[in-house]
Amino acid sequence: MTLWFVRGLRRGVVTTRYPARPEESARYLPTPPAFRPRALTAGTADRLAASCPSGALRRADDVLVFDVGRCTACGRCAAEAPHAVTTSGAFELAATSRSVLVKTIPLRGETG
């Protein structure tokens, strides 16, 4: 108790406006997926889109359109194609415009 008080006085700051260092617990949060463009083919993209229960993924010609706002981080796409999908680790996703949350992922995988 005394040590805590002295340490607080010495630092001069009791609280911070936002977590000052990376939050430990954030590692365990389910986060939206990240995609490996070189492992993505049109076929893989279609399979990912079909596996997404919330409609966050769809293929538009040669890109995979990922709506982060719709993603529930359920992990079904990572289970469908583990070689092409990993977790992004990003959780501070607040956006001031809805369109910012819609990402386009290029498909660079070799077909056939």
């Binding site: 609280t15 406006r17 936002y18 977590p19 939050e23 617990s25 954030a26 949060l29 939206p32 997926p33 990240a34 995609f35 490996r36 463009p37 070189r38 492992a39 919330s54 409609g55 966050a56 990922f66 709506d67 982060v68 706002g69 719709r70 993603c71 529930t72 981080a73 359920c74 990993t86 992004s88 990003a90 959780f91 501070e92 996703l93 607040a94 956006a95 001031t96 415009s97 809805r98 910012v100 949350l101 990402k103 992922i105 290029p106």
Partner: protein
């Protein structure tokens, strides 16, 4: 300075120190509410940041909306928004509110933007208290929006090896 920039500056000035939040559940499964309640826990302690929960929209500056906006709640949502004094901010919380879980059908609108003018969108199912804290910071202009610069692509293994050597 455009009208939008002026408004943002006014919000930062007026809401920079203290802000009262009214939560509005438009048909969510209540997990978003659990995370919102966790914001008041000692670990996150949003009161030290000048955010407070208020039980009445008349006292609120920020409307924290969860759920897919069921049609039966539309009138109540509009009345809540109209009852708030200006300037006011609407924050949509969770994948339901952003259109990810329920489609627009005779029972739900599917998104909050269909009824209310949303200013900040917080994705997540549910968004963690840290994500909500970041979203509130973005809403009052204290924290920068990060998601704009996240590409959601992972480096290929070959590139990672090359980068490490």
């Amino acid at each position: 300075m455009s009208t939008e920039e002026e408004l943002r500056a006014a919000i930062a000035r007026q809401f920079g120190r203290s802000l009262h939040i009214r939560t509005l559940d438009t048909g969510s499964c209540a997990v978003c509410e659990q995370e919102i309640r966790l914001l008041a826990a000692p670990h996150y302690d949003l009161h030290r940041l000048g955010f407070f929960f208020t039980p009445a929209p008349r006292h609120a500056d920020l409307l924290l909306v969860t759920g897919p906006m069921i049609r039966a709640f539309e009138v109540a949502a509009r009345k809540t928004y109209d009852a708030m004094p200006g300037p006011k901010v609407v924050v949509a919380v969770g994948a339901c509110a952003l259109g990810g879980v329920y489609p627009a059908d005779p029972f739900t609108h599917g998104t909050v933007d269909a009824v209310l003018p949303v200013d900040v969108w917080i994705p997540g199912c549910p968004p963690s208290p840290l994500a909500l804290l970041h979203g509130l910071g973005v809403a009052v202009g204290r924290l920068a929006e990060k998601v704009r610069d996240i590409p959601f692509t992972a480096e290929d293994d070959t590139e990672r090896v090359r980068g490490a050597s």
